[in-house]
Amino acid sequence: MILEVDAVSKRFGALTALNRVGFAVDEGQIFSVIGPNGAGKSTLFNVVSGLFAPDAGRVRFRGVDITGLPPERVNRLGLAKTFQITNIFPEISVLDNVRVAAQSRTPESGRLASLWRRPDVDGVACALLETFGLGARRDAHARDLSHGEQRYLEICVALATDPRLLLLDEPTAGMTPGETRDATALVRKVVLERGLTLLLIEHDMSVVMGISDRVAVLHFGEKIADGTPEAIRSDPRVIEAYLGGGDD
């Protein structure tokens, strides 16, 4: 088991964003969290990645209790995340975006020598950009990329920190159905090649069903189901949440 989320709760004022949510992700799995808008998916990711400390419950990653650790510590343990709203470094080049992420894992990082040494991470950075078809765009400013390219760059930046567990928060947000299909296939291929564990948030149920080993469903901050894609598809509570109570 690489990640264990145990009875996590998070409140914002009167709103309970997460209510005793728990699940476990095995090494090498593709695990998806789905649910209608406002179900608490992004909050869950923010708790796991260290942006918010939960009000109750524990999060364990590779056997270490990471509950309440800040994002930089969690990342250094081998967990990288992307954001639902594209979150890159806009005014520097595409290559520099990936370089600054990749150099975070060099021996200089965090040491005094980082003041005068410049680690050569171009090999890793360029290989990542090639994988996601951004090789030709590496000298462009990140802000000048198209929406789809920025979504890929976002994933490259996260992967450059060489994580064991990758959290993708709606990586295909804003993509057309065709782009979504390509992106999903590409992400799956990269994750399998690198032997990564993937925790994926998706809004669109059809995206995850084809690629996930396991799916958990959130609804109004509670986990209402957790199982294989087949079991989830036929679960009456899930159908009710998506077709009845949910907003889409």
């Binding site: 995340k81 954001f83 979150n87 470094f89 520097i92 520099d96 980082s114 003041l115 680690p119």
Partner: protein, 312 residues
């Protein structure tokens, strides 16, 4: 020397030849001293403003503390440049450690305000207590010595002292911005939240940038009394910090060279206009408004315009 590049070395060689220009007077050499010193400090501030995205309103305190460090030692008979600079590094370093620790715990406008408040406390102490001469500061200092027998007593020697400081400070800044550390600073400027998710302890990097910028500024301050023979609390006034910021802006943020030009331009403009009219700051203000409005990339941005015209 490879960090500097041939163009920078050429510029430094030309600057080194300045005292040899026929008709170069004492007045112009000392004006050149002031221009390069101001430029070097603006460059140091650019590490924070242009690269890290932090605006410090308190750099005058680093500058003034450096000047007082030299003045206090000289008053007690220590004339060595090395001892004065070393003492300034210690004094400014300790102060900067406290300021940067508290200021970098806050973001945006709070960082600017905290640096300002700390600097005002330091100013008030030097201005309103008699410990170090009150509003008169420390006056009538002797000439500094580099080595026994080598005294910084002529305008030419003073000029070479500031040129050596500028060269070293510039080389340090160039190395830092090109380093692992420098890349993280730019990432923080661009998107500090995202930088945290890449494993970077953002406050610690900001603190590092503050310390380097403050120490370079403090060393500049330590050199000032070696030219003027005094240190006064006015060096720490917030308007001084404002002039550093303006110099960075008019030169071009995040370029190092731009702020040097900006600081030198500002110093020379102020000197020239103030010798003609009393209300010189209105004239300078007008010039600065034009630059900020019509040259958003600063004076260094002119380079692009000219190179584009040449290409067309």
């Amino acid at each position: 020397m490879s960090v500097l590049g041939w163009r920078a070395l050429l510029v430094f060689a030309l600057l080194a030849a300045l005292p040899l220009v026929p008709g170069m007077s004492r007045y112009y050499l000392l004006l050149a001293f002031d221009a390069l010193l101001f430029g070097a400090i603006a460059m140091s501030l650019d590490l924070l403003m242009g690269y890290t995205g932090l605006v410090s309103f308190g750099h005058a305190a680093f500058y003034g503390l450096g000047a007082y460090a030299t003045a206090i030692l000289m008053e007690r008979g220590v004339q060595s440049v090395w001892a004065c600079v070393g003492f300034a590094v210690v004094v400014v370093g300790l102060y900067a450690l406290v300021v940067s620790y508290f200021a970098t715990a806050r973001r945006g406008i709070y960082f600017a305000l905290l640096t300002l408040i700390f600097a005002e406390v330091v100013y008030t102490f030097f201005r309103y207590t008699q410990t170090f001469g009150g509003s008169d500061g420390i006056q009538g200092l002797p000439d500094a010595t580099v080595l026994p027998g080598l005294v910084i007593d002529t305008p030419t020697r003073k000029y070479y002292l500031v040129l050596a400081y500028l060269l070293i400070a510039y080389a340090i800044c160039r190395v830092v911005v090109a380093s692992h550390f420098g890349r993280v600073l730019v990432a923080i400027r661009e998107n500090e939240d995202r930088a945290r998710f890449l494993g970077y302890n953002v406050p610690r990097y900001k603190m590092g940038a503050c310390m380097i910028s403050a120490l370079l500024t403090g060393v500049g301050g330590a050199i000032y009394p070696m030219r003027s023979a005094f240190a006064t609390p006015d060096l720490m006034l917030w308007t001084e910090s404002g002039e550093f910021i303006i110099s960075v802006m008019i030169g071009g943020l995040g370029t190092l060279v731009g702020p040097i030009i900006g600081g030198a331009f500002f110093t020379i403009l102020r000197d020239k206009v103030s010798s003609i009219v009393d209300w010189y700051f209105i004239v300078i203000g007008g010039v600065l408004i034009v630059i900020v409005l019509f040259m958003p990339r600063g004076l260094l941005g002119l380079r692009r315009i000219f190179s584009r015209r040449a290409a067309a």
